[in-house]
């Protein structure tokens, strides 16, 4: 029926196989106007794959990786600052809280004989040493793990 032509949407959808319809087929065989239009669209859609792709005039990988390592450096610096900040704050808080107890602690050392004092100090030193060695061992283990991870084959 030539009275109502196919719409542009119908023609495009027909070309892109989004719709299949016998009445469209029929109209196209009968109507040269719509057929010509269809052909225009066919050429357009066919040549669309040859659109020149956009490219950047700069090396994206280099720029991005530089930017990210800069970001990482800033981040680790910030983390370090936060760490020291918290540590110093805790140190001040703990020492100010412990001021009232200092005389009591000193009293223990003054009153008792030398042997318990030495025993107390000795235990303290041993515990500290133990903790120190443990921390170092853990650090080495983690460092090794990170090192191994970096040498992993890239998939």
């Amino acid at each position: 029926m030539k009275s109502t032509h196919l719409t542009d949407e119908m023609l495009q959808a027909f070309l892109l196989k989004e719709i299949a319809n016998d009445s469209i087929d029929k109209h196209l065989t009968e109507c040269s106007v719509c057929r010509a239009k269809l052909e225009s669209y066919q050429y357009l859609i066919g040549s669309m794959q040859k659109i020149t792709p956009e490219t950047f005039s700069f090396d994206v990988t280099t720029i991005v990786m530089n930017n990210i390592s800069l970001y990482e450096k800033k981040k680790s610096k910030k983390q370090e600052l936060t760490f020291w900040g918290i540590l110093i704050f805790l140190l001040i808080a703990i020492s100010s809280f412990s001021i009232p107890f200092i005389p009591n602690i000193l009293e223990v050392f003054y009153l008792k004989s030398i042997i318990p004092t030495q025993l107390l100090l000795g235990t303290g030193v041993v515990v500290l040493l133990f903790l120190w060695i443990d921390i170092i061992q853990q650090y080495k283990k983690k460092e090794k793990k990170i090192f191994n991870n970096n040498l992993q084959p890239i998939l």
Partner: protein, 190 residues
Amino acid sequence: MSIEENHFSDKVIVTNILNGNIQDFAFVVKNTEKLVAQIVGKLTTNEDDRKDLVQDIYLKVYQNLYSFQFKSKLSTWVANIAYNTTINYLQKKKIPIIEIAETIEDKYKLSENPELITIKTEAVGILNDELAKLPPLYKTLITLYHLEELPNKEISEITNLPEGTIKSYLYRARKILKDNINHHYKNEQL
């Protein structure tokens, strides 16, 4: 590459980066920069802005990598970030992404009959020119659909637009292109 393989290699790359192999992020950039170029390049033409946008986009990708759920391809997710970042930037600059300046059709009231069958394949230069005149969003959708050959569903994931909207924008964009290219040839013949 099948979807499963794609997802697998996405997973390997993302896991490696999250484990501290920052260098592996270069793979993400290499795998996605072509698609990002189509989106950023079609949405904005300013060279300096493109450079800023690319850095901004990939930094966002890097910062949010831990939240990537592998529900889509990594490239689609990156493209979505690229699209949103560029759109935000255009909105800040008050650059319309869809407004069509007067189309040829409105200006000259083209006669519908007979259509000129003159859009020849060698005329890609004219197609590129006419494409460049389209609103940014139309340009981007046309490129994603016809050049990158992405399915509507993926374009929808990238642009957050419903598939129906994408379809009708594409119809409209193709009609404008066809009419303008026809008009171009009509002028040449006169």
